[in-house]
Every structure is written in structure tokens, then in C-alpha cells.
Amino acid sequence: MSGKVMTMAEAIERFVPDGSTVAMGTSLEPLIPFAAGHELIRQRRRDLELVGPISDALFDQLIGAGCVRRVAAAWVGNVSEGLGHCYRRACEQGVPNAIEVYDHSNFSISLALWAAAWNVPSLPTRTLLGSDILRTNPTLSIGFGMVHVGAVRPDIAIVHVQRADAEGRAHAWGPLGITEEAGLAAGVVIITCEELVDDSVTLSDPNRILFPETKVLAVVHEPGGAHPSPVQGHFKRDHAFYAGYAEQSRTADGFAEWLERWVLDVPDRATYLERVDVDSLRIHHHQYSAPADFGNE
């Protein structure tokens, strides 16, 4: 045992100091590490730079809680509900604090992470040509008719997956968004997982292992850790929860109440889940992938 398995509180405490650049929500709408984000809030982390494609409410919550100094993302809001009210308050009124926004498109944030993964200063692309995003994001430039997307290197990527072993070999499935490049680009990966499994499971399918274990320094067994986002094979998306959050976060006071009830007043994920109708969200019909034969002799 490598000692990588730890509680969420310990993982966040040890690996995500104030001022960190943190990639989260890298699979877009599914597998969003809400439990990790809430622990960041509980530990009153400050001056974070958040990196992601879209964030479906998690970035909005961290911004509202005052954890964030900058966002490098393609979209920040609430996918099924629209605008992110905390994001708006921060950008428009500096409430609870002003934040810097490095605008990206989905493709450009992916390329920014690939640039970091391959350790080059930037990667060229034709996307964003003609877009004013080039005016507002100082890490994008034009030269020789191409846009050059500056590398974004997260200090930490936090990735929620269906299963992982104690050494951090993680299996995730469904659409993967920018997860692979985020993990490769990051200095450290924290895995949070629905199931903590024996390595005979993960190593039975090395093609499905997301990252080299050398990048993964913490494994947190956190079932339901992605709620209200969906987890293929485990949980449906909790649409009503997103709607409720959107409604309640319209005002700063409403958001404060929401935060109290769902984050600050909750010591850990297990307690949080007691307040959710988990059974109605659980996926009951299994649909197993056909096995691949890794036989070698």
C-alpha cells in the first residue's frame, strides 16, 4: 500500500494550498467532483485559479464562497438552468470578491492543457480567429495566421471516476471531455471514486486506466461524490437539484443559505447524501461492456 488512500479532508488539506491552480469538472457535465469542491469551501481555501471547460454550477459555488481569484474556462454557469448567479455577482459587482476571467472556448482550454502536457509554451489552432476572446485573454495571441494558445498547467487536477485502486489507477467511462489532458498537464492528480477496488480490477484493463499512477498522489473513496452531476452506471443527473440551486443562488443571501445547508453545515459527504433522495437517482439497470481478452500466452 502506497498510503495514497485518504479522506477528502486530508487530500484537500495536503495537496490544495491557497493560491493553487485547480482543474475540475474536466468531463464537462458528468463526473464533476462536487464533494471535493465543497471540501475546498469548508476548508476556506482562497485565491484559487479554477481551470475547466464548463463547470455546471461547481465553479459558481466556489466563486460565491470566495475561494477564487481567477477562472480559466470556456463556460461558467448552470447547464440546464442558464446563468451562474455567483459568477455574475463576482464579475459585475465584485461580490464576494472580484475575479479575473481568462476566457476560453472548449477547444482552446483543451489545447492549453495539451500544451502543458507536452511541455511547450503554446499550441497553434484556427479556433478563436475573429473572436474577441483574443482581446480579453492575455494567454492567447495571434501569429502567422494562427492563434497560439498558451499552456495552462494546473497544480492539481481533481477527477471523479467510477472506480480506482489504492495506487490511484482510475477507470472512468462515458465521455471524457478534457480529463486526460488535464491529468497529464497537472502536477498532482487527486482521484475521487465511487468504488475503491482491488488492483486486479483496474489492471485487468490497463487501456481504461486514465493516468500514470505516478501523477496520482491521493485516492478518496467518496461514493456519490459527483452529485448532482451524473455518473454512468451509478447515478442519474439530479436536474431538480440544479434548478433549486439556480433559484436559491439568485441573491447573495439565498446563496449564503444554500451554502450553509449544503456545504458548511455538512461535515462530510455521507451526511450530505442523507439529505438527498439518493435512491431515486441511482441507476438500477446494469449494461456491462463486452470484455476484452488481455490473454498473453
Binding site: L28, E29, P30, P53, A74, N106, R126, S131, G174
Partner: protein, 250 residues
């Protein structure tokens, strides 16, 4: 709002579905575009492929309601579950025939703003941002946007171009900017369909939805909008289109 036989949204979905040609690879967004894709598959374009930026390809809409394109029913039966950058690679190669982009604001040259109202340094309204919108606007072969027809949404010039249409409207603007994709072909609103001249430029009203008038369109458009001399009524949804959309929304 409805004329009784169908809703405004059903009409928009039907009109949008007609933009999909059989065999097209379509970059599908949520809400109306995914319904349009479903209608096209059930009617005139059974071989259209749907591509989702989350990292999916499908040959039919999901079998259950989706709140987002990453919901589990959209993965079941997918033809490809991959990384976003692979989906974007196809689009960068010109292999995406049609994209749908949602927008908060569109201008007479088809530029979309989903980023900032007012000065980006001190915005009046901070919108969610590009998502994949700018990528679709720049890299797909042609694209369409759907919008509520309001003066504050159809504006003379957007203050911030998130997803470029035809820029300042001058001939060859996209080409001069190095953009390979073809640009917007239609703005489908709650009142009408605006189209663009061959090669791009300024939007004009091509058809007006049943029950609405050119004057009503002019009144709710933020610039003195051009009207096609041959402007006609938008063809209402067919029985087949209506039954397809209703089977998805019932």
C-alpha cells in the same frame, strides 16, 4: 404562444430540423437543437450523425430525456465516447457539416455574444461564455442559431464577438481572418427566419412565421433589417415533424 395547431417552439424545431441534410455530421447542442436533430432523423435525414462536444457521436437521439449532453442516456448506444479534442479535431478538419449555437445576442452580421454585456473589464452582465460556441462558429461548415426575437437580442452590432459570424460584414471578412468554416446560414427566431447572402454579409428576413408580420419583425429587431423582396411565410411544421417533436417532448 401558439396558433393553436403547434407551439412557437415546435415551429422553430421543425424549421431548424430542415437545415440538417441527410448524411450530415451535426454538432448538436441541447434544448431545441437536440429536438431538431431528433426530428431530422425521424423525417428526411435518417443518416445524420450527431456529435457532442462532451465527447460523443450518435446516429440517433438518446432514448430518454436529457438535461445535458453528458447525461447517461446519451452515452448508451453512442458510436464513440472519446475526448473533446477528438471531436474538435473532426470539426477542425471540416468534417462537421452543420452546427447549432445558442446565443444571448446576435447582430446584423451574424456575430454572437455570449460573454459580456458592456465593458468586459466591468461588465453590466457577465454571460456564461463561449463553451463550444466559438469553435462551432469558426470551424463548422455552416451554422445556425436560434433565439427569442427581441430588440435587445437582435442588435445592430454586438459589443463583444464571442462566436464570429461575418464580422464587420465586409466581403471576405472571414477569409481575411483565416477562418476556414463557412459561417452562419440562418438565424431562427420566434418570429422569422433570417438568412445571409451567398458568401456572407448582412442578415435579411427570408420567411416570417405564420401569424406574424414583417412590421412586427422590424419592430423587434435592433437594426433597420432588410427584407427579402420575395419574403414568404415560413412553412409550418408538417404532420411528420410535429409527431416527431411531440414524441420527444411528451
Amino acid at each position: 404562444m401558439s396558433n393553436g395547431a403547434y407551439t412557437e417552439q415546435e415551429l422553430m424545431v421543425a424549421v431548424a430540423s430542415r437545415e440538417i441534410r441527410d448524411g450530415d455530421v451535426v454538432f448538436v447542442g441541447m434544448r431545441l437543437p437536440i429536438l431538431a436533430y431528433a426530428v431530422a432523423i425521424s423525417t428526411h435525414a435518417p443518416n445524420a450523425r450527431g456529435l457532442f462536444e462532451v465527447g460523443l457521436m450518435r446516429d440517433r437521439p438518446a432514448g430518454a430525456f436529457l438535461g445535458t449532453m453528458g447525461d447517461p442516456p446519451n452515452v448508451a448506444g453512442a458510436l464513440w465516447a472519446t475526448r473533446m479534442s477528438n471531436v474538435m479535431a473532426l470539426m477542425a478538419q471540416g468534417q462537421v457539416d452543420l452546427g447549432f449555437i445558442g446565443g444571448a445576442e446576435v447582430d446584423r452580421f451574424g456575430n454572437l455574444n455570449t460573454s459580456y454585456v458592456g465593458d468586459p473589464a466591468k461588465p453590466k452582465v457577465k454571460l456564461p461564455g463561449s463553451g463550444g460556441g466559438a469553435d462551432i462558429a469558426i470551424l463548422s461548415r455552416r451554422w445556425v442559431t436560434l433565439m427569442n426575437h427581441e430588440r435587445r437580442r437582435l442588435v445592430d452590432r454586438v459589443s463583444f464577438v464571442t462566436s464570429p459570424g461575418y464580422g464587420d460584414g465586409s466581403p471576405g471578412w472571414r477569409k481575411r481572418n483565416g477562418i476556414l468554416g463557412g459561417g452562419p446560414v440562418a438565424i431562427i427566431t420566434t418570429l422569422c427566419v433570417l438568412r445571409f447572402p451567398e458568401g456572407g454579409g448582412e442578415a435579411y428576413v427570408a420567411t416570417v412565421h405564420p401569424g406574424h408580420t414583417v412590421d412586427e419583425v422590424r419592430e423587434h429587431t435592433g437594426w433597420p433589417v432588410q427584407i427579402d423582396p420575395g419574403v414568404r411565410e415560413t412553412a409550418p411544421p408538417t404532420e411528420a415533424e410535429l409527431s416527431a417533436v411531440r414524441s420527444r417532448t411528451a
